[in-house]
């Protein structure tokens, strides 16, 4: 083990379309903000701030949306090995999160409306820690499904760190799973 070693970036970039998704989201926000200002400024705005100042502000918003999406795409990376999952996020304060697959408790897939149109899925992996999940945004739907399957196969093999019987193996409990029927003889019946 070389003592002068640092964490490298995760191997995989997310899908290229994620960049368009994030750009579109940013542009949507910028346009909405500009519309709100365009309506609000003539009515409520101070006299020194003319209504046409919406135009440069919109320009600024559009630039931020495009550049921000590009940076987010550059820095949001992930890697799943047989032992661990490793995710990097953030272009300003950069954060790398790593968890052993054996400690993963839940795997959650979700899609926004725009994401659905582009076929993009987010994956959230939780462990027993309250310090926050690992989240991968902008995965192609098939990639996300395959990843979720791989992770669930290996999850929960070593206990999740809360069980007092660490030898007793608990099955992973993905949130998609249906709730089992209440126990027979349950007094609610």
């Amino acid at each position: 083990m070389p003592s002068a070693a640092a964490l490298r970036e995760p191997a995989c970039a997310v899908d290229v379309r994620a960049r368009w998704l994030w750009t579109a989201q940013g542009l949507g926000l910028a346009v909405l903000g500009a519309l709100a200002l365009g309506v609000g400024l003539p009515l409520l705005g101070p006299a020194w701030l003319p209504t046409w100042s919406v135009v440069p502000l919109l320009g600024l918003g559009v630039t931020l949306a495009v550049v921000g999406a590009g940076l987010r795409y550059r820095w949001h990376r992930y890697e799943v090995t047989p032992e661990a999952v490793y995710v990097q996020t953030g272009w300003w304060t950069r954060e790398q999160r790593l968890a052993p697959l054996a400690r993963v408790q839940t795997v959650d897939r979700h899609e926004t409306a725009l994401g659905r149109a582009l076929g993009l899925t987010s994956l959230t992996l939780t462990t027993a820690s309250a310090a926050g999940p690992l989240r991968i945004d902008g995965l192609r739907r098939e990639v996300a499904a395959a990843l979720a399957r791989d992770v669930l196969e290996r999850a929960g093999r070593g206990g999740d760190g809360t069980d007092q019987h660490e030898h007793q193996q608990r099955p992973p409990h993905p949130q998609q799973q249906d709730h089992p029927d209440p126990e027979p003889g349950s007094p609610l019946r």
Binding site: A4, A6, L7, T81, E83, E95, R97, L98
Partner: protein, 516 residues
């Protein structure tokens, strides 16, 4: 065996709760009762009398209904409780899922020999409502049931001595730690109490000073000319009196609170758990199973630390009621007491282990982060002084002091934070330390490590530092190594999670390795 027995029938709680419930309901209804009694007196007719009767009987009836509509069930594999008359609610817990069993007894329950039992499953997301509570069991029966429930979830390992083998009957009898009245000296020094004192004193002083001239004038007009000359003196006396009273309340208040909450504290060792009992009036007992102890936190606020005190908490998996994952092990006590208990709980004197320092870059960040806001403040004061141009030497000195004090305080904080910052790697534990105003030393058992979170802002990256969080199921979810040199990460990871990070490491050509 009397008390809770395993069976298939739904049973009622202890009938003595028939006394406790109405007392509680009455206490809850006191404001309404006062209104009704008062109104009845005013009305002075038969109607009023009926209302008064209803006001007394209502709470009584409610209490009885509450008792009658609550039943619980104990079977060999689950425990359940059923509430409600119209809206029925059943909470069931499989015995194998029981993580915590805590006992609480309010004053009225203690007088009757009753306790309330809370059974938790250790869900990170659980709220108070989700926990199964048996409010009102006989004290002896409850502690038997507690031992029984915790035993059925305990390890396979060595057979547990029967619960009736009293925990303190061993060769090292007596509690591991017990309350001493002198510990109350730390109560007013608590960071939150101190902040409250400072805020109250400041607002009180400004209020009194604002109203003082007005006060003098009013006294003058009402008490005639004789008082006119004395009025300013009266004002000053009032200020002193009010400030003294406020200070007394703010010192006595926390002391009384600490005496009530922590009084009678004792920490006992049971065969495979730690048991904390405390409270003068309401008595609460928390049992912390060894398997749930992921580590400890030594919590030292600035003032408490200066007085030589510390608070010890456990890092526990599976939250316990209001304390979350950080159950109290030793309340504010002399630091050596907290450290000695920490050493017993961990099995190794980890909290006093010599720390590895995080290097000059991390120290530089302590200084820049403390001095930057203080510098801004000082600059603002100097700008103000230049604008006002104080004429007298006294005014000039005041401005100078106003500019220098924030700088001095910040320098003190920075130096103290530098002293605290560091970490230690022991064979089975990771120790972290940071902070000045609120210093925390955290010890995490390496068996309880889950994963890693490495976070670096551009400023940190420029200095080759990163804030590293080692995640765990217990406590707040992670212990934090503030501003760890990035070149130290690989070595730390090799000690804490051997092999886990290896595939993701890359040789750091530019930076020279720091000597160990």
């Amino acid at each position: 065996m009397s008390g809770p027995e395993v069976g298939t029938d739904w049973r009622r709680l202890d009938p003595r709760m028939l006394v406790v419930h109405p007392v509680r309901e009455l206490a809850r209804f006191v404001p309404a009762l006062l209104v009704v009694l008062f109104a009845g007196r005013v009305a002075r007719d038969g109607e009023g009398g009926a209302w008064q009767l209803l006001a007394v009987l209502g709470p009584l009836a409610l209490g009885i209904v509450r008792y009658l509509s609550t039943r619980y069930l104990l079977t060999p594999d689950r425990i359940a409780v059923r509430h409600g008359l119209l809206r029925r609610r059943v909470i069931e817990v499989p015995r194998a899922r029981v993580r915590t069993v805590d006992l609480t007894a309010t004053l009225s329950q203690r007088l009757l020999g009753l306790v309330s039992m809370r059974v938790g499953t250790g869900l990170a997301t659980s709220t108070d409502q989700d926990d199964l509570v048996l409010d009102g069991l006989g004290a002896a029966a409850a502690s038997r049931l507690r031992d029984d429930l915790l035993e059925s979830t305990a390890h396979d390992g060595a057979p547990l001595p029967r619960p009736d083998a009293r925990p303190d009957a061993g060769p090292d009898a007596g509690p591991v730690s017990r309350f001493h009245p002198s510990w109350l000296r730390f109560a007013p020094l608590d960071t939150t109490a101190l902040a409250a004192v400072a805020a109250a004193l400041a607002s009180g002083a400004s209020l009194v000073l604002q109203s003082a001239p007005d006060l003098g004038r009013r006294l003058e007009s009402s008490a005639g000319t004789a008082l006119r000359d004395a009025a300013p003196l009266v004002g000053v006396a009032l200020v002193v009196l009010v400030l003294g009273a406020v200070a007394l309340v703010l010192v006595v208040g926390p002391v009384v609170r600490a005496a009530l909450v922590d009084g009678g504290y004792r920490l006992d060792r049971t065969p495979r758990a730690w048991r904390v009992t405390r409270g003068l009036l309401t008595r609460q007992e928390t049992t912390l199973d060894d398997a749930r102890v992921a580590g400890v936190v030594v919590d030292e606020g600035l003032a408490v630390r200066w007085a030589g005190g510390a608070v010890l908490r456990g890092i526990a998996t599976g939250g316990i009621g209001e304390e979350g994952g950080l159950p109290l092990l030793v309340p504010a006590a002399p630091a050596r007491e907290a450290e000695a208990v920490a050493a017993r709980v961990l099995g190794v004197d980890a909290v006093r282990a010599p720390l590895r320092d995080h290097g000059p870059a991390a120290r530089a960040r302590r200084w820049s982060r403390a001095m930057a806001p203080a510098g801004l403040l000082a600059a603002a004061v100097i700008a103000g002084a230049l604008a006002v141009r104080p004429a007298t030497p006294v005014a000039l000195a005041t401005w100078a002091v106003a500019a220098l004090v924030p700088l001095g305080v910040a320098a003190g904080l920075a130096a103290d934070r530098c002293r605290a910052l560091g970490h230690a790697r022991l064979p089975r534990h990771l120790v972290t330390s940071a902070g000045s105003w609120r210093r925390r030393r955290e010890v995490l058992d390496l068996d309880h490590v889950l994963g890693w979170q490495v976070r670096a802002s551009p400023w940190q990256r420029r200095r080759g530092l990163a804030t590293v969080r080692v995640t765990t199921a217990g406590g707040t979810g992670a212990v934090t190594l503030l501003d760890l040199p990035q070149v130290d990460l690989a070595g730390l990871a090799a000690d804490v999670t051997p092999g886990l990070l290896d595939p993701f490491l890359t040789p750091l050509a530019a930076a020279a390795p720091r000597g160990r």
